[in-house]
Symmetry: C2
Subunit: 204 residues, 2 copies
Amino acid sequence: MEQQYSSALLNRAVDEFAKLPGIGRKTAMRLVLHTLRIDADKVDGFCNALHTLRHEVKYCRTCHNISDTDVCQICSNPQRDASTICVVENIQDVMAVESTMQYKGLYHVLGGVISPMDGIGPGDLEIESLVDRVEAGGVKEVILALSSTMEGDTTNFYIYRKLMHHDDVELTVLARGLSINDELQYTDEVTLGRSLVNRVPFKG
Amino acid sequence: MEQQYSSALLNRAVDEFAKLPGIGRKTAMRLVLHTLRIDADKVDGFCNALHTLRHEVKYCRTCHNISDTDVCQICSNPQRDASTICVVENIQDVMAVESTMQYKGLYHVLGGVISPMDGIGPGDLEIESLVDRVEAGGVKEVILALSSTMEGDTTNFYIYRKLMHHDDVELTVLARGLSINDELQYTDEVTLGRSLVNRVPFKG
């Protein structure tokens, strides 16, 4: 049962905050009371930023990354290597790869992975548009950078089947193995096994 | 340094969420991406609830609890005992006491405690209005239900000095002692010492 507060306005604001993922009613209350302590124009700024984002958000028509323009800054940047496409699940993953500073190609955001349990099939993802990009030519490598889960592997395999007849396009996946700073004794046996099988020459 | 995302709108929304207490940029990002997945009218409902609360919030003119009306539901309830006033720090504390279902009197929300380190003096709190309520007559007991901290104790003492010449008004504080379910060996020595000094007759 939801607690009723002395003010219906307060109650409604707490209800709304508590709908956000990972925010319970106690945290919601704390956040709402915070908005009562700060200036009204700061609350207006917050609401306005959220409202504007939700109503004016655009996605790049090429890679489906979030963007303020029709084609995103990455896709329209001539410095980036257009012959390489890194396939990721969502826009956070674009940020994660970008933050490594190790990648200079383009992206393709699928919008999820194939997950029959959640009712997500290939048709719900941006897989056809990836195939279109490859068929348009100029692509030498497609890097499958999906999560190392069963759903990720299924999606990798589906994309592989769709692109396998393009002999001129190399399909690669991210290397799996020990994380940097991992201690051997605490590494799970599947990861350790894979690291052993896929061992590489030592570069001193 | 704050990370820049591929969209200025996104960046601004994340900045705004990250200003909320206890919300870092990673959580802010997660919340913002959630608002992109849900329907736009749900985001509008959220913004509207927050905006309405901030601009239309009222505080009870008697006890300063948050209220939709000039006098709150508690102060205007004839079933409540108007001769007892429970002095609390903030509106969460009103909720905490209400949730015990053990109190049928009225409240007085100070809006904080005296804390010279934070620049909060007696003049910043609703202490004068408490004295006015007591001087208006009809009050038999004032319960000081402030936090068991140095600031709380200081505030208790300040209020005591203000009300000490009202011989007809009894000043009480919340009992201090072991929490329910506390194990003796893990109780801090100050609390245990106080519990021992203030021991009460056993009611079998």
